[in-house]
């Protein structure tokens, strides 16, 4: 038997990288190491002219190696080529010129609703979550919103979210088990990671799985894994796991 040389987090990173096209304007926010690494990977592999935007305002950071504890630090501007701060990234998205935004959330439902706000009553919550940050204005205005979530269980993928922080141009949700695609107003199972199975996805999803056919996420290519070692030697992509 061949030993597996990659982890689910590597599949997630490579799958996200392959969703990004050359020339696209792409934004990630705070606490977003995994998409930050995926953006850098895309830039080094197939999308050299991808435009990397972030909160500190560094356009196309030359390196993400110093972003050890923060994906919103001055290092991204320090190694960048121009200053384009958060305010202006939002304005850009409002003008319809942000292609991809990466956002988080803690609960998602089959109708594409995203909850990053509260569990329980909004004004007197059982659990106060960090908040959706830019989600409520970026998910509706970015051309494609990609969500990544390192937890995949029945409390995360639910029939109906406790609170609708936002909804809109959600495109994909990437988890350690699979990729969902939002189309025709519903979340569809897009691909299952080779490290998981249909049964495992079913067991950990709180709503009925919709799919046209069973497809598997591409395994990370050897070249991608080599590049990941180079651009992310300290494994920031796995910081959430």
């Amino acid at each position: 038997m061949m030993t597996q040389s990659y982890r689910p987090v590597d599949i997630m990173t490579c799958a996200i990288s392959n969703m990004l096209k050359d020339g696209e304007t792409v934004f990630h926010g705070v606490s977003s190491h995994l998409p930050m690494v995926a953006m850098s990977l895309a830039k080094h592999m197939h999308a050299p002219d991808l435009v990397h935007l972030n909160i500190p305002g560094g356009v196309n950071p030359g390196s993400i190696r110093n972003a050890s504890y923060s994906s919103a630090g001055a290092d991204l501007l320090d190694s960048g080529e121009a200053y384009f701060p958060l305010e202006e990234v939002f304005d850009l998205s409002m003008r319809g010129r942000l292609d991809v935004a990466f956002l988080g959330g803690i609960q998602f439902d089959i109708n594409g609703n995203v909850n990053a706000s509260v569990i329980g009553d909004y004004h007197r919550p059982k659990l106060r979550l960090p908040g959706g940050a830019g989600s409520a204005v970026l998910i509706p205005t970015a051309k494609k919103a990609i969500i990544w979530r390192t937890k995949h269980d029945v409390r995360t993928f639910v029939e109906q979210v406790d609170f609708v922080t936002t909804r809109g141009n959600l495109w994909k949700i990437v988890t350690p088990l699979c990729v969902f695609e939002f189309k025709n107003g519903k979340l569809y199972l897009d691909t299952i990671h080779p490290t998981s199975s249909l049964q495992e996805v079913k067991d950990n999803t709180g709503f009925e799985l919709l799919y046209d056919e069973i497809k598997y996420t591409a395994e990370p290519a050897k070249e991608e894994l080599v590049m990941l070692k180079k651009i992310d030697p300290f494994d920031y992509r796995a910081i959430e796991l």
Binding site: A74, F90, P130, G131, G134, V137, I239
Partner: protein
């Protein structure tokens, strides 16, 4: 008028019930020496405004200084986890968490900058934030007849911004990311600058075009070396991992008071340096 004053005197400019905007973003360049001083002075009922906050908001919630928080995101970054004192205060009903999308905080401050009562904001068109919060409203655009979302203007009574360099008059320069600091300096009624260094006027004049906040907008200047610590200050120091980690693990009021005391001498060292 002498603008350079002590940390204690500057903190006294903040009154109970004030709306206070802090500079910086999450783990970076938050005006922590000032925040610790208002915590020590036992300020009450503050209304905090920030696009994305962490230790500043969490600490003030821990000491019971906060009435409301208007923010898009309140949490430390991944490695350090959630802002547990803020969460607890909101969950217990002590603090009202007014959730924004970071951009709606920006628009609410732009409203203050332009002195208009509200700002139209694109993008916020779906979801329950619109329904549950009275500071958002959907009306008919009188020109096109289409629906348009409005956000109510937020006028901070005080903006507190920590910078690397400032002269004795208050001309301030921010190195690296400015986050929303320039905007809050224009939106607030009073601006307090805490600074790593007070530099000679001649140095500021040399590159006047790099002054981010001109002195006529500034009410007070505080010399506060390491004034952003334990958050980072670009070109000066990185985060203080140990201090943040120890704070995050604290649960009791005594521990928090101990934490505030442990910074007392450091926070006031700028005054001692000036009096020498």
């Amino acid at each position: 008028m002498k603008k350079v004053i002590s940390l204690a005197d500057a903190s006294a400019l903040v009154e109970n019930g004030d709306t206070v905007a802090f500079g910086g973003n999450v783990l970076h360049r938050a005006p922590m020496a000032f925040v610790r001083e208002i915590a020590r002075q036992g300020k009450k009922d503050l209304k905090i405004v920030k696009t994305a906050g962490a230790h500043d908001i969490d600490l003030l919630c821990a000491v019971g200084s906060v009435a409301t928080v208007d923010a898009g995101f309140v949490s430390y970054e991944t490695k350090f986890g959630l802002a547990s004192h803020y969460r607890k205060a909101v969950q217990e009903g002590v603090v009202k968490g007014n959730e924004h999308a970071c951009y709606t905080v920006i628009c609410a401050l732009r409203g203050a900058q332009m002195n208009v009562p509200f700002m139209p904001v694109k993008g916020l068109v779906a979801g329950e934030l619109l329904e549950k919060n009275e500071y958002f409203m959907v009306v008919e655009d009188p020109f096109s007849g289409n629906p348009v979302t409005l956000v109510k203007t937020i006028v901070p009574d005080v903006a507190v911004i920590h910078v690397q360099e400032c002269d004795a008059h208050g001309n301030a320069r921010i190195y690296g990311p400015k986050f929303e600091d320039v905007l809050i300096s224009r939106a607030a009624k009073k601006v307090i600058i805490t600074t790593e260094q007070i530099v000679p006027d001649s140095k500021m004049k040399l590159n006047a075009e790099y002054v981010d906040i001109p002195s006529f907008l500034v009410s007070a200047v505080v010399h506060a070396p390491k004034g952003a610590s334990p958050t980072s200050c670009y070109k000066k120091y990185d985060i203080d991992d140990k201090s943040l980690t120890s704070f995050i693990s604290m649960k009791t009021k005594e521990e928090i008071q101990g934490y505030l005391s442990s910074y007392l001498a450091k926070d006031h060292q700028g005054e001692r340096m000036a009096n020498r």
